[in-house]
Symmetry: C2
Subunit: 165 residues, 2 copies
DNA sequence: ATGTAAATGTTATAACATAACAGTAATGAA
DNA sequence: TTCATTACTGTTATGTTATAACATTTACAT
């Protein structure tokens, strides 16, 4: 039973306690990895934290440069391996239209997200809608297509950027 | 009034007269560009033909190498400029999850496509569904988000690859 | 003919991602 | 504990996708 009804949208301007987002995400990741019997190593955890640095999708090379700053020279495979792991475990999502990555707040649920991405500030909010999921799956199935993955990204202007102070 | 009800799906195995697809697409492009007062130059038309070479999304560098074969050395900007033009005019779509481009069979209609992309053969079929479009737009609007563009890509197995001969 | 804007050519480089192989750390069995 | 096995990480090189910047040519209107 999914439980995304009260998803807490965090657009850029929504001044929230983001430290809390990060702590919650890391805790969830630790529990999830433990229950799955996979290893959330230091490197993976640190890169997950860097992705969660904000609600803006972050490029692999942004992560790389932050990591290099704090840990000395680091090479791309280090980052991509960790990102691949995190994607596999559902701890982050990849935003295809940005070649960037963003933390998932519902890693325990098997889901495909719908991303609302602001063209002005670049923030991305993940939302869910059973009806949309279902309608898309039905449409594909009716055409004889067997769906496996799904990418749904809506670009536009987020509430905060529509009403700047 | 949109008119996609009888969309002719072309998955890979659907052995159809593809020459006809290309001719139709080029003719439509010429008419559309004329009516819009933009120039479908030789280079742009040729690159549109190369994208329409099949129903498989094609990478920019694939186009580039074909073009180089027939016209001598060509540089990336030549291809990307033409692709950008064709995207602006709605003559092709970009498949974000593949970094590739595919011809649009309904360029005159203002639309966002739903792409069914086969993980086995790589073919892509563009379909449309008013209900899906509407549901997504409503969802976004209800959250205070003002949508501008949309990417919807479903990966899976196409009918032809489910029942190989 | 001539000025202007649009389109194209050309060179270089940025941005994103993976292959291949060597070394190290964790884990479990003998 | 030792050893073998596997998972993880380090490192170098390279592949793939995309754009910046500026020179030249072409189309078009005056
Ligand atoms: Zn937050
Ligand atoms: Zn998610
Ligand atoms: Zn065809
Ligand atoms: Zn289309």
């Amino acid at each position: 039973m999914k439980n995304f009804d009260t998803v807490s949208l965090s657009f850029c301007g929504g001044s929230h306690d983001h430290g809390r987002c990060v702590i919650t995400a890391i805790k969830a990741a630790e529990e999830l990895c433990h229950s799955k019997g996979v290893r959330l190593t230091d490197a993976r955890k640190r890169i997950l934290e860097l992705v969660w640095d904000s609600h803006h999708p972050v490029g692999a090379y942004d992560v790389l440069s932050k990591l290099s700053q704090e840990s000395g020279k680091t090479a791309p495979p280090t980052v991509y391996r960790a990102l691949d792991f995190l994607l596999e475990q559902g701890l982050i999502h990849r935003i295809e239209s940005l070649n960037a990555y963003v933390g998932c707040a519902h890693p325990a649920e098997d889901h495909a997200g719908l991303f609302l991405i602001c063209n002005k500030c670049g923030c991305a909010a993940e939302v869910h809608d059973e009806t949309i999921d279902q309608t898309i799956l039905t449409k594909a199935s009716n055409l004889g297509f067997r769906p496996e993955q799904r990418t749904l990204e809506v670009r536009g202007i987020c509430p905060d950027c529509q009403n700047p102070q």
